[in-house]
Symmetry: C2
């Protein structure tokens, strides 16, 4: 029976980088960004801070690993669509939902070391942009625009989720902001006041997808199907 499948285990489940990241995600989800301390983490894992540092170099790496794990999960959840447009929508929704379920990611994605997980998203978007028939010169711009929009929405959505009290649900929050917007200065915030009502029966995911469609329309309208590739020549 060869090499007795390695079962030393001085404890039921030995400490490992994977287990630490998993516990960190759990704490982040439950207590938010500020709740993740090495002390809390040590307590949850029934160990001391020193043991954690043996597996993980520091808090930055930990946050980065947690972000990567969640984003990767969100992308995996998105099943590929039939058309490139549908594939992009599914991919975007996967990332959107992942950020929505773990709002602490919102601030992480604007951090330097967190950019490697984003590269995977960029790659997948880029392939679908290519499949869309976008000429080579415009592909980078198109994929970047989509990714940046997704990250922008994710960040803002996460800020909203963190801003609302843990108890209140989404419709109550939207109602509160709609009311707040409606009470803004009529001169200074004429437009915002005007669209405040639209906030009440507002579905974040639908709105998000509408934005994606807007960008997709811009991409195919300018570069694709019609054949006129005005964006391809500079600016």
């Amino acid at each position: 029976m060869a090499t007795r499948a390695r079962r030393p285990e001085r404890r039921e489940e030995p400490l490992s980088r994977e287990r630490i990241v998993e516990a960190a995600i759990g704490i982040l989800d439950a207590a938010g960004e500020g709740g993740l301390t090495f002390r809390a983490l040590a307590e949850r894992l029934a160990t001391g801070p020193g043991a954690i540092y043996w597996h993980v170099s520091g808090k930055d790496e930990l946050l980065n690993a947690a972000t990567g794990a969640v984003i990767a999960g969100g992308m995996a959840a998105a099943a590929a669509g039939a058309t490139p447009q549908e594939a992009i929508r599914a991919l975007a929704l996967g990332v959107f939902d992942a950020i929505d379920a773990h709002p602490w990611i919102g601030t992480q994605i604007a951090r330097a070391p967190a950019r490697s997980p984003m590269l995977r998203v960029f790659e997948h978007i880029g392939r679908q942009v290519q499949a869309l028939g976008v000429p080579e010169a415009a592909r980078f711009t198109a994929a970047s625009a989509l990714l940046n929009y997704i990250l922008g929405v994710g960040g803002q959505n996460a800020a909203n989720a963190r801003g609302a009290r843990p108890g209140t649900n989404r419709t109550a929050f939207l109602d509160a902001t709609a009311t707040a917007w409606a009470e803004l200065d009529p001169e200074e915030y004429a437009f915002t006041r005007g669209v405040a009502g639209r906030l009440r029966d507002h579905d974040d995911r639908v709105e998000f997808l509408a934005g994606i469609d807007l960008i997709l329309a811009g991409i195919t309208g300018i570069t694709g199907i019609t054949g006129s590739a005005s964006i391809a020549d500079g600016r």
Copy 2:
């Protein structure tokens, strides 16, 4: 001479919320997010932490005020354009440049309390969207898409700026990432590798504007000029 223009001043320049925020921005620009401590701030203002707390409720409010001041400055710098498209471009560039000049804003914009300065940006974008002739039902979506894209680019750009060492200039950084991308796994990162070369002669501002134009094309293409308002009826 009426009410002797209020010159008590027990020190040359009395402490004030404005002066504190100004000093905070100075520290943030010089030393980054981590460099802003109440100790450093107190030293720069030649006072103690207690005095600062009398004018400002805490670090969160301080960061929020600093963000607001910078964003407001960026918007003011953007002169209005002749057409709505040009006005949107100018406004977007103003915000872009403000974030670019103060990279620490990148993480701030994804924070809950920092959303009030963004409301002003949203308002101005919305007005131009309206001027563009977008039907009412689609205005919210259009303005949101633009704002989210701007914030997404800002966040990612700031992450890049913070990631690069303070000394290195932009072209050196782009060169480094282009090389890194070109060395990625050919199977897994086929698209990213393909566009790596495009990174070398890449102007962030031009690229940013190209994305704005893409979204504008989507907005006017779907809702405006042609008259077909497919986006107006749901999804």
